[in-house]
């Protein structure tokens, strides 16, 4: 086990017509020994390429990758002491689960057959699959294949686990089950892990830290709650969280924000943060929007809206609200599942001043994040 450092790692692909495509642009992340880092971003953001460079399956065009302090750039994949779990599981179809799992040990170590057997048996017990050891992949369900693929990585006892969307081929229920189990296993083994996913729920729930990538560039690296409550820019704010944060483009006029449909009064702290900026984007998370029945806004943080659509989810309702009678461009608020809200109803939506985020309209940089004063001081949320 060791610390993994990515130092200004770059990957440039040269297209057939000679033009360069930058897939990964100066990504720098340090992954502590035993840490679970989730690389998350939309498809095509370079997260898989980054992982493949760590594995040695792609050659980095620039920068350095260090494992336990020594550079592994230029080393062959088989010399890196890294195990990887693939999205397609990539099991060897002609071998039984046992042979699949012992293959890596046979190839990379000079352990005796007994030692290998013992390792495989232990891993199989950890994953709860001892009875599947003598079956071939074609005789296993997707979830079972997933476990064998994990087992194949675990028996190697490598410095680093790399996982490339390992759960995306599973159905929803199995996926959440495996998510918990993966976390448990990773905690037990305490192996440095880099996990790639496009699913922000996986990122939020599994990672010790998450690194958000977009367009090949690192947007933010931090704990899940940091990324959630203190997003570095508009992209992170919109990507993390489900349903996504609502955004409104606005201009700053003194202590007021003027948007197309409304004007919003800013508190002093926010006014100071946006000083100098002209165009800003106001962001507010759906769960922070307070919805109350009524038609008359009491102050300049409240707006008269009409309910457009309600999506009941049991524990909560996602309510799409439009300003005035015009239902175009609705924004989302979540309210408790027991509350009765119906389409067409007139309600007051309040954006609490301490829950808003403000971003620079051109660069997307965060200018002001929500205050966390209402958080329980005994249990800091970050």
């Amino acid at each position: 086990m060791a610390q993994l450092e990515l130092d200004a790692v770059r990957k440039v692909f040269t297209d057939d017509d000679g033009s360069d495509i930058v897939a990964v642009d100066d990504v720098t992340v340090d992954i502590e020994d035993g840490e679970f880092l989730v690389l998350v971003g939309p498809s095509g953001c370079g997260k898989s390429t980054t992982l493949r460079m760590v594995a040695g399956l792609e050659t980095a065009s620039g920068g350095d990758i260090r494992l336990g302090g020594r550079s592994i750039v230029g080393q062959k994949p088989q010399d890196r002491d890294i195990a990887m779990v693939f999205q397609s599981y990539a099991l060897y179809p002609h071998m039984t689960s046992r042979e699949n799992m012992s293959f890596g040990l046979e190839e990379s170590t000079d352990m005796t057959d007994e030692e290998i057997d013992e390792r495989v048996q232990n891993a199989a017990e950890l994953l709860d699959i001892p009875e599947l050891l003598d079956r071939k992949p074609a005789e296993l369900s997707g979830g079972q294949q997933q476990r064998v693929a994990l087992g194949r990585a675990i028996v190697r006892d490598p410095e680093v686990f790399l996982m490339d969307e390992p759960l995306s081929n599973l159905d929803a229920k199995l996926r959440s089950q495996m998510r918990t189990e993966l976390q448990r296993i990773q905690e037990d083994l305490d192996t440095t892990t880099v996990y790639v996913t496009h699913d922000q729920t996986e990122a939020m729930t599994m990672g010790d830290r998450i690194a958000v990538l977009d367009g090949g560039e690192l947007q933010q690296a931090g704990t899940p709650l940091e990324c959630y409550h203190r997003p570095a820019n508009r992209f992170v704010a919109g990507f993390i969280g489900e349903p996504s944060m609502n955004f409104f483009d606005a201009t700053v006029r003194g202590d007021r924000l003027v948007a197309d449909r409304f004007e919003y009064g800013l508190r002093e702290a926010a006014v100071n943060d946006v000083a100098g900026a002209e165009g800003v984007t106001l962001g507010i998370r759906p769960e922070d929007v307070e919805v109350t029945p009524g038609t008359e806004p009491a102050d300049d943080n409240e707006f008269a809206t009409v309910v457009d659509v309600v999506e009941p989810m049991g524990n909560e309702n996602a309510v799409y609200l439009g300003f005035g009678a015009d239902p175009t461009d609705p924004f989302v608020a979540t309210v408790g599942g027991m509350r009765r809200v119906e389409a067409g109803q007139r309600v007051i939506a309040r954006f609490p001043p301490d829950a808003i985020h403000l971003f620079d309209a051109t660069t997307g940089e965060a200018l002001h994040s929500r205050s966390l004063e209402d958080a329980d001081p005994a249990e800091p949320r970050i």
Partner: protein, 317 residues
């Protein structure tokens, strides 16, 4: 009401139902469908008649049985004989052994080398600019007609002192004509590699890339990945290539004619002996020629049956 009446009524009901079904099926048999079946039947007959004619002819006496019966009619008892099969087996026996001596090793070696080449051209990391010419040359090799290389081929083997190199064999009592068998083996391997490579290449290009990457991350070297993953996984394609190559090599007459040349040679392959079987001054013994053809075709049939299941898998991929 007695039981018998019930049974009768039941039987009547069944007959009616059967009648209904027949009528329905006859109605479904429209002209187009009848046409399709008739055409299929005619085609089947067209393709099977020569084989059937050959098979029945092989059991007829010559010339009485052949000339007095229809070609595709089975032999009447008085013209029936197994004599031709006995003669064919005796005549072709040593040829079959000789053919197997080069067809089996040449098939296996060309399939293996073709598989190596395809693995190197698909999974190894080299620049397309170096890979393309190698691939182009191999593909071009498929399209060189055998006839075009006959003269260079015989000159090539004339220039190589293979007979001297193999002296230890002759000392052991092997007739030195067997140089021809060694030449045939090497020639067929060389000419088989391109087509084998192309067949394997299409298969290896579709191999799961992640599986090969997983094996490399598991610590296997390029060679070990072939040995432990790619080779076992390509069994179906090996079946296809082995059947195809074996049939090609076993049936090839041209190289045998050039490199061994006479059927009287102790090393004469079956195709050379078969060419002269049943020919004489008195005319052709058709029955013997047919029996000989079936005997000579037997090994290719056996190979097909041996690898049939894997062959179906391989063709399906």
């Amino acid at each position: 009401m007695s039981d018998a009446t019930v049974d009768d009524a039941d039987a009547t009901g069944r007959t009616e139902r059967l009648g209904d079904r027949l009528r329905a099926e006859l109605e479904a048999l429209d002209a187009a469908r009848v046409g399709v079946y008739a055409a299929l039947f005619a085609l089947t007959a067209f393709y099977l008649t020569p084989i059937e004619s050959g098979l029945v002819s092989a059991f007829k006496t010559n010339p009485a049985g052949i000339s007095s019966t229809l070609p595709f009619a089975p032999p009447p008892l008085r013209f029936f004989t197994l004599e031709k099969w006995r003669t064919a087996i005796t005549a072709l026996g040593r040829g079959m052994v000789n053919s197997a001596l080069y067809a089996v090793p040449a098939t296996i070696v060309s399939a293996l080398l073709g598989s190596f080449a395809a693995y190197g051209l698909t999974q190894a990391d080299w620049r397309a600019r170096y890979k393309a010419p190698v691939l182009a040359m191999l593909v071009a090799g498929i399209f060189i007609p055998y006839q075009a290389v006959l003269v260079p081929l015989s000159q090539f083997w004339g220039a190589i002192p293979l007979r001297q190199l193999l002296t230890p064999l002759w000392v052991l009592g092997v007739p030195s004509a067997y140089t021809g068998i060694v030449e045939l083996t090497i020639t067929h391997v060389a000419y088989g590699i391109p087509i084998c490579m192309v067949l394997f290449r299409s298969y290896y290009r579709n191999l799961s890339e992640e599986m090969v990457e997983a094996a490399r991350l598991d610590g296997a070297t390029f060679r070990r990945v072939y040995r432990r993953i790619v080779f076992p996984v390509s069994t179906p394609m090996f079946a296809v290539v082995l059947i195809y190559q074996f049939t090609q090599i076993w049936n090839d007459l041209l190289f045998a004619l050039i490199l061994v040349s006479t059927e009287s040679s102790p090393a004469a392959p079956v195709v050379l002996i078969l060419a002269g079987l049943g020919e004489s001054m008195e005319g052709q013994d058709f029955a013997l020629r047919m029996a000989g053809a079936f005997v000579a075709a037997l090994p290719t049939l056996i190979v097909y049956i041996m690898f049939g299941e894997e062959f179906a898998d391989g063709v399906a991929t």
